[in-house]
């Protein structure tokens, strides 16, 4: 059984959106990293948006995963944005001495999408209707919405 399978990877336009909703054990972290990279390869997405707003803690293991994903995505010509880091988590990360090298952090999903769109242009967002249907909380690529 692979715990990582529980974390969805959604494709919104040319961005992979990864809502991390559980306290991940190390195997889940590793599995998620592998799945993100293979999805990048499969879809040719240009951006990866990792929503960690529900994570109550980021330790050196998860921090390294975020940096590694960003580094590998860059090789595949995609940019990584981490959104929604909780203030207490951000403070703890700094004290721990982690800098999340190569990772852009923004406050919310809207900002993250905007940043990624600016990066590769609005015309690029041919959106995958079928996958968008599945998402529900993702209103549209232009107006991302988070359901409370």
């Amino acid at each position: 059984m692979n715990g990582a399978q529980r974390i969805p990877i959604l494709k919104v336009g040319r961005v992979l959106v990864v809502p991390v909703q559980v306290d991940m054990d190390d195997q889940t972290v590793i599995g998620l990293q592998e799945r993100i990279l293979s999805e990048l390869e499969r879809t040719g997405a240009r951006g990866v948006l990792i929503d960690i707003s529900l994570l109550e803690m980021v330790d050196s293991f998860i921090g390294r995963m975020l940096s590694d994903i960003a580094a590998m995505a860059r090789v595949m010509d995609a940019r990584t944005v981490v959104v929604g880091i909780q203030p207490a988590v951000a403070i703890t990360l700094v004290e721990l001495g982690l800098e999340l090298r190569g990772v852009d952090t923004v406050l919310n999903v809207d900002e993250g999408i905007k940043l990624l769109r600016d990066e590769f242009g609005a015309d690029d967002d041919e959106r995958d209707e079928e996958e968008a249907e599945l998402q529900g909380e993702w209103h549209s690529f232009g107006e991302p919405r988070h359901q409370a």
Partner: protein, 132 residues
Amino acid sequence: MESRAIRLESEHDIVVARGEVRAMAVALGFGLIDQTRLATVASELARNIIKYAGRGRVIAQAAEHADGRTGMRLIFEDSGGGIPNIEAAMRDGFSTGRGLGQGLPGSRRLAHEFQIESSPARGTRVTVVRWR
């Protein structure tokens, strides 16, 4: 709630340990940032035990300062091979694994008190205290 031991025997126990430590921090009245600091320390030091010693335990307990403050003490114990050079291990960026070498020095920064004892014969014990 005064003191409890959490077994560290598999990777999953790292998740259990940080959850339990956070819950106890909440019960002891720590605020959100301190809860996060304590859970992060638990995650780092529990992972070190799983990764470098194979197994061990963490004892979480309420602590009382001479000046009346209350806090939380975490004692991480294992009987693994120990740390040959503690001074080096405490340095930012030092790792014999493929880690960032941030676990020990970072945990020291996240705590108010930090103590480490290690020997090849007896293993490693790291004690941290965070006061409220």
